[in-house]
């Protein structure tokens, strides 16, 4: 069951990703990306990361991608890219490079790995406490500093958007 689900979701995500990069229409691309994101969210659930999965769907597939779509619509980019590609010569090498990169990573993955230290958060342990609660706990203990500082990041982003995108300052 788990394996089937994995393979299905993997196939969906990869397929959607392929469409994403080859689809001419930006809106369609965005939709394919959402598809990928959702299938990854499913995989998160398989990996017992329920909170992350939820965030993935709500924040990522929901908020962020809507933002994308919104901008695409705003800029009225619902048209195909120009046919002429000044860097046409790069297309094939780029794909070859991509394949090469993938093969390289696979080659390395094939070698012996996963010697990492096993942590204390086994599935059972996580499930007894609850994934979300655990994350919450960690956020305010171990990860307090980055968590707080992320606020600065978001603040910066807000300022940035205003500065860059507001029509009149």
């Amino acid at each position: 069951m788990e394996a089937y689900l994995f393979y299905i979701m993997a196939a969906v995500s990869v397929g959607a990703a392929v469409y994403l990069i080859f689809e001419k229409n930006p809106v369609h691309s965005a939709l394919y990306l959402i598809m990928t994101l959702i299938s990854i969210a499913v995989l998160y659930i398989l990996l017992e990361a329920q909170f992350i999965a939820a965030v993935q769907i709500i924040v990522y597939a929901g908020a962020i991608m809507v933002l994308f779509l919104f901008v695409i619509m705003l800029l009225n980019l619902n048209v195909r890219e120009e046919i002429k590609d000044v860097l046409l010569f790069q297309k094939i090498p780029a794909i070859i490079m991509g394949i090469l990169l993938f093969l390289t990573i696979c080659l390395i993955l094939k070698s012996r790995f996963l010697q990492g230290k096993q942590g204390e958060y086994t599935s059972t342990y996580i499930n007894t406490i609850g994934n979300t609660k655990l994350i919450g706990n960690l956020l305010f203990t171990d990860y307090l500093l980055p968590f707080e500082l992320t606020s600065i990041l978001l603040f910066v982003a807000a300022i940035g958007v205003i500065i860059l995108a507001k029509r009149k300052l």
């Binding site: 012996r112 996963l114 500093l145 500082l149 990041l153 910066v156 940035g160």
Partner: protein
């Protein structure tokens, strides 16, 4: 459950960061409350400067300690403090040179100062980050601020373009960095640098290919930020398009921060695998120096030329990383400090000499400066000679430091390539002095506006450049006490 230890949250240790954040918000608030008349916001610069001074004082108070707070994820040691000083210094100098510039370019918004301050926070976090997450967050705070600052002249296509290029490539490279972090995490089970080091030590220093791939990906991510070849391509375009003051900032602060992180990660976490990564950094260092210097020869735009020069300097700094000894680390600290003075100084001159919309930034526009404005010309000459590594300027001592480190660790070949490169670099630095002193002027220099703040920046830079060159010992000793490695 983890024990929640109050002692672990040492607020004092992040006081400088909080100060900067506070002052950033104050700047925004004051800006909001004050009448929106561009050109009349001197006080914002002063507020920011006060913030920096306060932060610097707070930073100084914690010198001499070696403290790891926030669950060992935030390091307050001499190393990070030294870097923090460099960041604060560069930010301060950039604010000094910005003040007049942003008025001229009509981008005199409070957000400018706030973003610079916030980006400094990111840098400090990178230098202090003792785990990969903090470094990552710091990197993002810094980068996002600078993406915005790069595009700050939003009505200018060049600025937009630079911003977009930087953003896309930056995000792209961050992807690699993250991938690397995830693989390091996967193969060690830790994101804390000390734990990673401990893990490798536990394995007797041997690592598997996966780990090495992670390391390689981190090299890409950080190598992008320090502008090393072949991840350097964004640098000239972005440096050229960004507002000049921000270019000055970018060439110093973020680069220094990236180096801070680079050294901390590779010397503390990956220190025992030095043998594995030194070859890669070796090649990158050679490429970076050479490509930077060689292409700089062909430039006519001074901002672009300084961009390539900054690539080349990244190469020199990487030599110290390859050497991976005490001398190298303190050398980098010294060099970056020296570089801060000379590079921001040079950009200050560029700003003074350029006109609205970044006109007059071709090298040929400098013709005849030498006898029209002797002070500016001599200052520029000092900065350029310092960058070329000619004594008695700071850059010379910095190079001395770094090449010493290389030779001490036995990398004579690298040192030789380094010095050959510095000979090549002499050419294009000299060319500017040639044009300043030995060519007839093609423009008139009457309309230069020299505000007191920018003069202060130039004077500070000159003094710093000369002082570090002639009497370097005090700073050197501090740098040597700030080494990451056990002495």
């Amino acid at each position: 459950m983890t024990n929640v230890s109050v002692m672990s949250f040492n607020i004092l240790s992040i006081l400088p960061i909080l100060t900067l954040a506070g002052f950033g918000i104050i700047v925004l608030m004051v800006d909001l409350l004050s009448p929106r008349r561009p050109g009349d916001k001197n006080f914002l610069a002063y507020i920011s400067l006060i913030g920096i001074v306060v932060a610097a004082i707070l930073t100084k108070n914690s010198t001499g300690t070696a403290l790891f707070s926030f669950h060992e994820s935030f390091a307050i040691d001499n190393y990070s403090l030294f870097f923090n000083f460099i960041f604060l210094l560069s930010t301060g100098l950039v604010i000094l040179i910005s003040h007049n510039y942003i008025k001229r370019e009509e981008i005199n918004y409070g957000e400018y100062y706030a973003l610079i301050l916030f980006s400094t926070i990111g840098m400090m976090l990178m230098a202090s980050g003792a785990d990969l997450l903090n470094i990552y967050i710091g990197l993002e705070i810094m980068s996002v601020s600078i993406y915005i600052l790069t595009g700050f002249k939003r009505s200018k296509v060049t600025s937009n373009e630079a911003s977009l290029k930087y953003f896309l490539l930056g995000a792209f490279a961050t992807g690699f960095l993250l991938y690397g972090i995830s693989i390091i995490y996967g193969s060690t089970g830790a994101i804390n640098l000390k734990e990673i080091a401990g893990f490798i030590a536990g394995k007797g220093g041997t690592v598997d290919p996966l780990f090495l791939m992670g390391m390689g990906l981190i090299i890409i991510g950080l190598g992008f930020k320090v502008a090393s070849v072949p991840f350097h391509a964004w640098v000239p375009d972005v440096y050229e398009g960004a507002p000049t003051a921000i270019t000055a900032f970018m060439s110093v602060g973020p680069k220094a921060a990236a180096f801070a992180a680079f050294f901390r990660v590779f010397l503390t976490a990956f220190g025992s695998t030095h043998y594995e990564w030194q070859k890669i950094i070796y090649i990158i260092a050679v490429l970076t120096m050479t490509v930077g210097n060689v292409i700089a020869l062909a430039q006519t735009n001074i901002k672009r030329m300084l961009a390539y020069s900054s690539i080349a300097h990244a190469g020199y700094l990487l030599i110290a990383l390859v050497a991976a000894n005490n001398l190298g680390v303190s050398g980098v600290l010294f060099y970056v400090l020296a570089y801060t003075f000379m590079n921001i100084g040079a950009f200050a001159i560029v700003i003074v000499l350029s006109q609205k919309d970044d006109t007059f930034i071709q090298i040929n526009d400098y013709a005849g400066l030498g006898f029209k404005h002797p002070f500016l010309a001599i200052a520029m000459t000092f900065f350029l000679l310092s960058m070329a590594g000619v004594p008695p300027m700071a850059g010379f001592v910095g190079k001395f430091y770094i090449f010493s480190a290389a030779i001490k660790s036995g990398y004579v070949g690298l040192a030789i390539i380094g010095v050959i490169n510095s000979v090549i670099s002499v050419y294009y630095y000299l060319r500017i002095t040639v044009i300043m002193y030995m060519k007839e002027p093609v423009r008139d220099f009457t309309s230069l506006t020299l505000s007191p703040l920018i003069i202060a920046a130039i004077v500070i830079s000159v003094i710093g450049t000369l002082h570090l060159g002639i009497f370097p010992s005090q700073v050197m000793e501090i740098a040597q006490q700030s080494s990451l490695l056990p002495r």
